[in-house]
């Protein structure tokens, strides 16, 4: 029998129909994926199941009897819990305090901390969610914070766990750990719903998958009977090109356009870059893969001139750049797609028009003697909007009003429209959906074929391997291996990325435990 049934659910926000007569059901003890592009209505549907909003039409049936879920607490009473994409944790409090919050064990009028810590320790041992109950949440990694959220749900005795984009913030190893945990939860009889738009993960973890598109239910399928291509087609509504096509090989005599020599960076006693060197040729995409926090941000900042190196050089077109600044680098033909568009890429409250020249406001194209050329800027913005198919109401709307994919198109359009020689593309597809990913990849290949040198830094291994001519593995501020993508299999890469490999065996091995657990399961 179906554990959860949502029948004919309709939800309307203003003029937007977020859910249109959606029927959705989940069986007891299964892992069920909810797939759809950004804006397809997945989260809206789940928020109604978690009592955060009430459907305009339709009914929710739990274990055969209809329920009204007016608030999250009524959902929790019914055994439903949700882990949000943005964690709802109190950073200054301990793991235990966060988990028991609202349902604290008491000794008389007082909080029974000992008992709480014991309960948390038991729970974490039971499901293999290793965590120190006394640690402060603010000090934890993202992956561990997620564990706290899951433990919180388990502590509240949930039978149904909803996870909203749980892997969006995790490193590949953390994803493996998470999936192991989800499997053990399933063995224990819990039911799990995962909201996601990552196809590979669905195929790996879930039993069934439901696809939403533009607020409507498309279909529900058994995962075993489908594949990535079909899922993508159902989600987007048309055939999706996975393999990048039409990439030209790098010419044998292609000059080196970007070079980093022996980059060293020490900051507050930390060695962030230690002798990093790399070369990118004209017409080449050089991909960097590595676990986040191994020097990606630092090398990007050094090349783009946002930060300075302690030692070493950055060379553009063979010329060393003395004390690089963002303006100097832009003038010499470097374009930057920042890794975090919200932080470094866009001024959210500026109009799209103003954002379209950020970084080039002093260029002669857009200003003379300090006075902005409004006409030129408007033409430029309209050009980006039409060339990069940015969906905007008006170019005077703020950047914040755009969806993630369209924001990223503005950032990319701005960088590529300056006809740069060298492109630093950091996380170019983070947080954008499949249609936009496909388009952005195609643009990068176009640029490569036009003879640009592209340095690609991405947390998505598939993206790096799929697009790059050369791959460099970054570990502890240094490139520990380079080669063509075909030279690496996933296991070798995983080992290299965590510093545990025969060539680097003499290095410290801090991640040994994680590695063991990761590979013992695979």
């Amino acid at each position: 029998m179906d554990f959860v049934q949502m029948r004919g659910i309709t939800k309307i926000f203003g003029k937007v129909v977020a859910n249109d007569r959606v029927d959705f059901s989940v069986k007891k003890g299964e892992i069920h994926s909810l797939l759809g592009e950004n804006g397809a209505g997945k989260t809206t549907l789940m928020r109604m199941l978690y009592g955060m909003s009430v459907p305009d039409e339709g009914s929710i049936i739990l274990n055969g009897s209809p329920v009204t879920l007016k608030s999250p607490s009524s959902a929790i009473e019914q055994g439903i819990s949700m882990v949000h994409q943005h964690f709802m944790l109190a950073d200054p409090m301990t793991v235990t305090e966060n988990i028991v919050l609202g349902y604290e064990p008491r000794k008389g009028p007082f909080f029974d901390r000992k008992k709480a810590e014991q309960q948390v320790a038991e729970l974490s041992a039971r499901y293999g969610l290793q965590i120190d109950p006394k640690a402060t949440v603010g000090d934890l990694s993202v992956g561990n914070k997620q564990r706290v959220e899951i433990l919180k749900a388990l502590y509240r005795k949930c039978d149904l766990l909803i996870l909203d984009e749980p892997t969006a913030v995790l490193t590949p190893l953390e994803v493996k750990d998470l999936f192991a945990v989800l499997r053990s939860l399933k063995e224990d009889g819990k039911t799990i719903i995962i909201i996601t738009h990552k196809l590979k993960e669905i195929l790996e973890i879930s039993d069934r998958v439901t696809i939403l598109r533009a607020g409507k239910l498309i279909t529900t399928k058994n995962t075993a009977e489908t594949d990535a291509a079909e899922l993508a087609r159902l989600m987007v509504g048309r055939q999706v090109q996975f393999e990048v096509q039409g990439a030209k090989p790098v010419a044998a005599d292609a000059p080196v356009l970007l070079e980093v020599k022996d980059a060293e960076l020490r900051r507050r006693g930390m060695q962030l870059l230690s002798g990093l060197s790399l070369q990118v040729h004209a017409g080449e995409i050089f991909g960097i893969c590595g676990v986040e926090g191994n020097g990606q941000t630092e090398i990007i900042e050094a090349i783009t001139g946002i930060g300075q190196l302690s030692a070493g050089q950055v060379l553009l077109n063979g010329q060393p750049v003395h004390k690089p600044t963002p303006t100097k680098m832009a003038d010499r033909g470097l374009a930057h797609i920042p890794e975090d568009r919200g932080l470094r890429g866009l001024v959210a409250d500026f109009s799209i028009r103003d954002n379209s020249i950020l970084g080039y406001q002093r260029s002669r194209r857009f200003s003379r003697r300090g006075v902005l050329d409004k006409k030129a800027i408007e033409m430029h913005t309209r050009q980006i909007v039409s060339d990069y198919r940015v969906k905007v109401g008006s170019i005077d709307d703020t950047a914040a009003s755009l969806s993630g994919g369209n924001q990223q198109k503005v950032v990319i359009g701005r960088a590529l429209s300056q006809d740069p020689d060298v492109i630093i593309a950091a996380q170019p597809t983070r947080g954008v959906d499949i249609g936009a990913i496909e388009y952005i990849h195609q643009k990068l290949i176009e640029m490569k074929n036009a003879g640009k040198a592209i340095l690609l830094i991405s947390a998505e291994l598939d993206e790096v391997l799929g697009l790059s001519d050369q791959v460099g593995v970054l570990y502890r501020g240094r490139i520990v291996a380079t080669g063509a993508p075909a030279d690496f299999d996933e296991q070798t890469l995983g080992l290299l990325m965590t510093g545990y490999h025969k060539d680097t065996e003499k290095e410290e091995r801090p991640c040994l435990e994680t590695l063991h657990s990761a590979f013992a399961k695979s």
Partner: protein, 369 residues
């Protein structure tokens, strides 16, 4: 062209910011009226007296605009700092520094032609006020001390420093602690006889217009606002954050300094201990009411000027004490600062929609490729 202008006006009228300010104003007037009524006064008589005091005749209007002059400057000072991401609570201190510098330049720079002499005094005031603010900005950049605290503290230092200098080094003959009278060539010409309204008012309007242009049309204004809204993106976009911050402070402090100069050169003719009734602090309220928009700030300052000059008339014609205006001003600020009171419901709805948009949902029909 005309249609364009009409469109623009429509857009301005529809803008949320203007609505907030206007609603706040109406709210404040209504609540103040209730307070008056509850205290046994007739709000209509009171408001009538205030209005005629502020606008009932050329002399009254002149007085209102004259009172508004320093307020326009301090309002602009606070607003431009806000736009650039700096919180300048130190307009009062910068005003004192500027006033003192203008008084000295006016008294000791003799035998200059009028235009030059006035320009020299204004420049001295701008630099003195500006550097006083840059001091706070520099401490923030070098040592990471919050400019909020530093500017507040510098108010006291500026007030007492100028007080000390006047008392012990530049005191004019007589009982009152004040500097020597400025030369006739440094006095701002009055626009209406026997009133506070001088050329200073026109300079203030000019400053507002220039600021609008700078913010809208120049690279400098673009970068200033970029730093104010997202310093990290600005930095990636080649803006030198620290330098920009100091320039913002310089302009902000300079404008506050001009407020002091106009008082000295237009109204008093000398620097006097404690001459400002808190123009610098009123600047904060005016910037908030004007939503940091130079034109909004100008209108708000004129409103504040009207309240001040209207209060005098109300005091004379009714039994309501002048201090009542303080209540009105406070209410205006409370209403502007808490648009939630006005927009609570609407905002809540919007927020829910925004949350949906951030993670999911949103216009399903107008999404992506």
């Amino acid at each position: 062209m005309l249609g364009n202008a009409a469109q623009r006006v429509c857009k301005v009228l529809k803008s949320k910011k203007l609505q907030t300010s206007l609603l706040a104003l109406v709210g404040a007037i209504v609540v103040s009226g209730l307070i008056l009524a509850l205290s046994g006064y007739s709000p209509f008589v009171a408001y009538g007296a205030m209005f005629s005091g502020a606008f009932g005749g050329a002399a009254n209007i002149a007085d209102t605009l004259g009172t508004a002059t320093p307020l326009i400057f301090t309002g602009l000072a606070v607003a431009i700092a806000m736009k650039g991401g700096a919180v300048n609570i130190g307009a009062e201190g910068q005003l004192y520094m500027g006033a003192f510098a203008a008084a000295l330049a006016g008294a000791y720079g003799k035998d200059l032609p009028m235009v030059l002499h006035i320009a020299l005094c204004l420049l001295a005031a701008f630099i003195a006020g500006g550097l006083w603010a840059v001091l706070a900005g520099g401490l923030k950049i070098k040592l990471g001390v919050s400019e909020v605290i530093i500017t507040i503290m510098l108010n006291y230092i500026a007030t007492y420093l100028t007080d000390y200098l006047t008392t012990y080094h530049f005191k004019a003959e007589g009982m009152v602690v004040k500097t020597k009278r400025v030369a006739e060539s440094a006095m701002l010409p009055t626009l209406y006889p026997h009133s506070r309204l001088t050329v200073g008012f026109l300079i203030a309007i000019l400053a507002a217009v220039i600021l609008v242009w700078v913010l809208r049309r120049t690279v400098f204004g673009y970068e200033l606002q970029a730093v104010g809204l997202n310093p990290f993106a600005a930095e990636s976009g080649g803006v030198k954050k620290g330098r920009q911050f100091l320039l913002t402070m310089l302009i902000s402090g300079g404008l506050a300094g001009l407020a002091g100069a106009c008082e000295v050169l237009g109204v008093h003719g000398y620097f006097m201990k404690g001459f400002s009734p808190g123009y610098g602090f009123d600047g904060l309220a005016i910037a908030v009411l004007g939503q940091n928009n130079p034109l909004g700030v100008t209108l708000s300052a004129i409103l504040y000027g009207a309240l001040r000059s209207g209060a005098t008339m109300m005091d004379r014609m009714t039994k309501i004490p002048q201090d009542f205006v303080g209540i009105m001003q406070a209410l205006i600020i409370i209403f502007v600062a808490t648009p939630g009171l006005v927009y609570f419901y609407r905002r809540k709805k919007k927020k829910t929609a925004a949350i949906h948009k951030g993670s999911e949902t949103a216009p399903a029909t107008t999404e992506e490729v």
